[in-house]
Symmetry: D3
């Protein structure tokens, strides 16, 4: 696995464990919802992952973008589909999204390098 | 056409005309991009409209939500798909999205009333 | 009850019913969490309501502010405590919070008028 | 004075009085800073008003936009300069700024109608 | 003192000095207000620090979160109270707050390590 | 050139090349608009750069701030004018802008060190 992806996964997993260990019921349930919301429903998983990606991008949350890039990649989203999703994010959210687009493209490349 | 939808369309059209009449090149091109970005591409129109909807919802822009509800509705999005999209918006964007969800459900109802 | 407060309560209740009737599991659970999060815990209800108020104010969500003003008022928060909370919101969130502060003070007055 | 401008001024003045009457020191000082920040300094008043306008526009605060449109107008800003400022706001802040641009153009027209 | 806390304090102090040395009156007064706003008033210091924390968290400002975690810790806030505050932030502000929650929990741990 | 400025320029140029190579038409046009919007028009370049700076600052986009600091510096903006612009950003956008102000002052210093 590329170093960038590995480091992201490791920090995320380690801190999620600590957060859940703190035993706050509200936070635990939000984590639980976060898993359920992207499961197959009326919309397919792939579409939901793109919805999560565009929402993360316009809200400019790098870690959230990285997470949805990873799951989108694993669900067969192509680079062209990812870029089209990010183009809508950049149009709706403005040029302030561009620095996050730069990091998204770098992270996508790291995901491709693993394969 | 329901009054709510009619008023939304009329104000939008009237003010867009005035904005374009002011002849600012940057704004004209952004308006132009706004049309192109949601056209059929690597992703289908329906998916793009849902991407536009979720982006508008997490950024809490009522007029943008109404616009994408309308185009989503016209492209055959079902109420269940719309609600699933809005559920991701509410999870990612937080409970501050709920007042916009209320208005979105009211606008969707107005769209259904027209049919 | 003052008209302003009554209208707010009525629209909120009517639309919440419609949202819950749509039967989206994620949204239902978020509504449920929203009730639990402000219950007595390690922090008293009054403090939690002020936390909800300041979060709503810096995120500039008028309906959320109105809701937390109402529950704060019902839990014995004084006008001075409310204003101190809003002063922190205005400092942290900037002068863009001021229009929401104007509407918050008007809503608080409506709450006082009922008594 | 056009009705739209008059109503804006009246509500703003009435509520500002109530806010200042509540005697919260932090809020009073923020109001005071808000006056000083736009005074002639290293940058001329006109430039500062445009800075206030673009900041208000990307943060999507209609009342703040209206206020800075009014002061910009009173300081001799032309419609072309205002539109150029708003075009930067729309580019940087994205298409979610457009509904605010619509209302800004309508308010500017109300300011012109007074003259 | 733990390295993480030390580095945060040092960079903050060094840059604050440079900012204040630039002698901009508006910025100086905002810094001054920032000290006064969290002083004992109608609300106790501890509550005000939690208000500052939740506002910083929903606005997703890591440095602001770290600062209020530090002052909250010094004022006797327990881990449970901090987590309850952050749970309200995550509910109101959405799952985009979670990456900041991860870093907040890591910073809190650094504060505990010092003791 | 100072290391900080060099690294910023290099990463920005490298990733922009990769983004443009992906050949997404919407993104290409947004990049193109981003160049045109700051060109001499009814407002001078210097004013437009300050508008870009204040918009970037209130939206808290460090890379956007760095970019506009660089172009502002190259267009003869003085430190006093930059600080006045940032003071308006801090007032309008609130104390959450301060961490970005710290990094802006550090980046400005790096720009001065080059000269």
């Amino acid at each position: 696995m590329s170093q960038k992806v590995q480091e992201f996964n490791d920090y995320r997993a380690k801190m999620n464990d600590k957060i859940l260990a703190s035993n706050n019921k509200i936070i635990k349930r939000i984590f639980n919802l976060d898993t359920n919301a992207y499961a197959e429903g009326h919309l397919p998983v792939k579409t939901k992952e793109l919805l999560g990606l565009v929402a993360s991008a316009v809200l400019r949350c790098d870690d959230c973008i990285a997470y949805h890039l990873k799951t989108a990649y694993e669900n067969g989203v192509t680079k062209e589909e990812m870029m089209e999703t990010m183009s809508i994010a950049t149009l709706v959210g403005g040029t302030i999204v561009i620095p996050h687009l730069r990091r998204a493209v770098a992270f996508w490349e790291a995901l491709e390098d693993e394969a």
